[in-house]
């Protein structure tokens, strides 16, 4: 019986080409799954599971100290939407995102143009501009907190000397001061990083394209607008996604510098999540509900931006 089966299999294996390729494919399939397994497991445990937990949390009564106490959908979402602070937080986060992106992107591009060719001082310049990126955002925020401090920081004295500011007042004490103080920190911290990304994009543009442009008699401005910028579009789109997503999720810098103040004027959405969970409501359900809303919003925003990225690729 056993022999017969073996023979049969061998015969079929020899003669039936489709069958053989089928088994081969199955084996290949299995091997493929095996290769993919570590990544899949990692994805399932680290990305999918937390999202499932957060979604479950957002649909349950789940307090910080009391734990899970059964489903209550959609109560958490109603409570989040009823919070008068939500609108202000969304408005401020969008404003902050627009400001940082509008400053960071052109600045990083300009810096990249400035240092892309290897001249004598450029490697030094590059390092100097990139150095703040090596600092964690929390450490950088603490550094600026000290710099802005009216008690120990030098900035107050400098502003006072220029004459635009009273040395006794606090830079982070007014809504405008708190916003721009944070923007300065973020630009300082991230300009070098985005410059590096832009440089990689610039260097990927083949030199002969520029040569051809020069032969055709294109000037500097013409080269920039018709060659550099269009060919850099995918890089621009990618850095834009990173900057927008990063700014929409801003937390550390505000948590350390302003705590959302003065008078809740610099409250970002993620800070509101933190507050719901640990400070005011101590309600993980509400915090999870807002997190889910942020997740959905980010997926939509990124989908639009990825589309822009793909258009850039097609043009190429």
């Amino acid at each position: 019986m056993a022999d017969a089966t073996t023979t049969q299999r061998v015969v079929l294996g020899r003669g039936g080409a489709p069958r053989r390729s089928g088994r081969f494919a199955r084996r290949e399939n299995r091997l493929g799954w095996l290769y993919a397994a570590p990544t899949t497991t990692l994805l399932a445990v680290l990305f999918i599971a937390p999202i499932v937990v957060v979604v479950a949390m957002s649909a349950s009564r789940w307090t910080l100290l009391g734990g899970a106490q059964g489903g209550n959908f959609p109560e958490n979402f109603t409570k989040v939407f009823a919070d008068p602070m939500l609108g202000d937080a969304i408005g401020f986060t969008l404003l902050y995102t627009v400001i940082t992106t509008a400053i960071l992107m052109p600045l990083a591009f300009f810096l990249a143009l400035l240092v892309q060719e290897s001249r004598r001082w450029n490697s030094f310049l590059r390092t100097a501009i990139l150095l703040p990126s090596a600092l964690g955002i929390a450490s950088a925020s603490l550094l600026f907190y000290a710099l802005y401090s009216p008690q120990i920081g030098p900035i107050n004295g400098i502003l006072d000397w220029i004459g635009s500011f009273d040395a006794g007042a606090s830079i982070l004490g007014t809504p405008g001061g708190a916003l721009w103080g944070t923007v300065v920190l973020v630009v300082w911290r991230f300009a070098g990083y985005y410059m590096l990304l832009m440089m990689v994009g610039l260097q990927a543009i083949p030199g002969d394209v520029y040569e051809a442009a020069r032969i055709d008699g294109a000037g500097r401005w013409k080269t920039l607008t018709t060659i550099t910028l269009p060919l850099l579009r995918p890089t621009l789109a990618m850095t834009m996604i990173m900057s927008v997503t990063g700014s929409l999720l801003a937390f550390d810098q505000f948590y350390i510098l302003t705590k959302g103040g003065p008078n809740n004027s610099t409250m970002t959405i993620v800070q509101l999540v933190y507050r719901y969970a640990f400070e005011t409501k101590k309600d993980l359900g509400m915090a999870a509900a807002l997190s889910v809303l942020i997740l959905v919003a980010l997926v939509v925003v990124n989908a639009f931006q990825l589309k822009a990225l793909r258009i850039g690729a097609d043009d190429e």
Binding site: P50, L65, G168, T235, M238, R275, E279, T280
Partner: protein
């Protein structure tokens, strides 16, 4: 070409992110594992001797960093005189809620937990503390302990907490500045109006950097510590009995805010940065000698008597028309629900409540004791001004509400918004509508 680099990079970032997440998850899991004790076999509290058990067990305890000095003193003296050893961990003030929350979820609370007294009602309601009614009632000197911290941990008649560190607020003034301003340096304010007048007199000195008074405008916690005693002293009750309703729209409250508004509109009336002060440095201006008169933590001022370069006067915080009160702040202490060393933990608590311990831990170090006998008799060698603060404890109060933190203490709380609007707002709103904002949080 460019696209490939881009996707590669994104992929690398994703891997990095995954690695970071894996790391944090591992830490989280480790946290769960280590705290996974054999729950469920808690010892019989009923059989416990009145003074607990001292058998050389190691007891864990959490307190918060601002009270490091007092907590260290208590633990060191206990450890050197007992078989039991208390292991103290200090949490950063801002991380307390998160850390306690995480510990509850993972069953990792210490045996003894001390916390800001305004957080205690919420913790008690959430079942963090063990019911100690029988033990507390059996304390020989229970009536002699300041009652605010016991009341804060009382829920439905069951008592859960005792006073750990008492921190009270007093009125202090700079006698040197008073003399310059032509005021009697020995007579502090006895009514709120006198406080405003005296502050304005100092402001009128028109000296560079010198102000009449100071307020921590962006710190809800410091604002209740400094302003509520004025209302209590006036015979007002800013919160109802259940802590579900704010009553900050009384005539006395209106007078209070009008007085501060007057100071804010006076040049140098309230020190620079009062409106923006978040509480981190609110005691510094007076310490530097640039503030005439203000409310101050008693524990902080006792340290200034010798070190300050100017003379300091101390008085109780006055009400609007006389009377006085103080804020019974600081930390209360209890035994956590999941503790497996209840008898040993109670031994520490019972010892701490004794006259002897209160004397050694607090009075001898010029800190405020929680025990009225020690407060009255234990400070013979201390500065007489310490005694003025001590005498206010019996009239002091602790505001008790389950949602107190969200309504008053949290950054940007409705209470902070009320104070900001009433004192510095361009067009101050009706006090009663702002009061309703606080009530809507308290009543949740």
């Amino acid at each position: 070409m460019i696209i490939t680099t881009a996707t590669k990079r994104t992929r690398r970032w994703r891997t990095l992110g995954a690695a970071a997440l894996a790391g944090s998850l591992a830490i989280g899991l480790a946290g769960c594992g280590s705290s996974d004790g054999g729950a469920g076999d808690s010892p019989e509290i009923a059989d416990m001797p009145a003074e607990g058990v001292d058998d050389g067990t190691t007891i864990t305890m959490w307190s918060r960093a601002p009270l490091e000095k007092q907590a260290q003193n208590a633990v060191e003296i206990y450890n050197s005189t007992h078989e039991n050893q208390v292991e103290l961990e200090l949490l950063p003030n801002d991380d307390v809620e998160g850390k306690v929350g995480a510990a509850v979820q993972s069953d990792g609370l210490p045996d003894i937990l001390a916390g800001d007294v305004v957080r205690i009602p919420y913790w008690t309601q959430q079942g963090i503390f063990m019911d100690l009614t029988e033990q507390i009632d059996a304390l020989p000197n229970k009536d002699d302990l300041q009652s605010g911290h016991i009341k804060a941990g009382t829920m439905d008649g069951a008592e859960h907490t005792l006073p750990f560190v008492t921190d009270i607020s007093v009125m202090v003034w700079n006698k040197d500045l008073y003399e310059q301003a032509g005021l009697d340096p020995e007579a502090g304010p006895t009514t709120f109006d006198e406080y405003v007048e005296q502050a304005k007199a100092v402001a009128d000195l028109d000296e560079d950097g010198v102000a009449g008074s100071f307020l921590a405008g962006q710190s809800g916690g410091a604002l209740v510590f400094t302003l509520l005693p004025i209302l209590w002293g006036s015979g007002e009750t800013p919160l109802n009995e259940d802590g579900t309703e704010a009553m900050l729209d009384s005539d006395a409250a209106q007078q209070l805010f009008d007085g501060y508004r007057e100071l804010a509109e006076t040049p140098n009336g309230l020190g620079a940065g009062s409106k923006e002060e978040t509480g981190a440095t609110w005691t510094a201006p007076f310490q530097n000698g640039t503030v005439g008169v203000m409310q101050y933590p008693a524990t902080a001022v006792s340290g200034l008597f010798d070190s300050a370069s100017f003379e300091i006067g101390v008085a109780p915080i006055p009400g609007v028309d006389g009377g006085s009160s103080t804020f019974l702040g600081g930390d209360a202490i209890g035994i956590s629900q999941s503790s497996e060393n209840v008898a040993q933990a109670w031994n520490f608590l019972a010892w701490l409540m004794s006259d002897e311990a209160q004397q050694q831990v607090f009075a001898d170090n010029d800190d405020t004791a929680s025990n009225l006998t020690v407060l009255a008799e234990g400070y013979a060698d201390a500065d007489p001004r310490t005694q003025i603060g001590n005498d206010t404890v019996k009239d002091g109060q602790t505001p008790i509400a389950v949602n107190f933190n969200e309504a008053f203490n949290a950054a940007g709380s409705p209470w902070q918004m009320l104070v900001q609007d009433q004192i510095w707002g361009d067009d101050p709103a009706d006090l009663s509508s702002l009061n309703d904002d606080i009530t809507s949080i308290l009543a949740q």
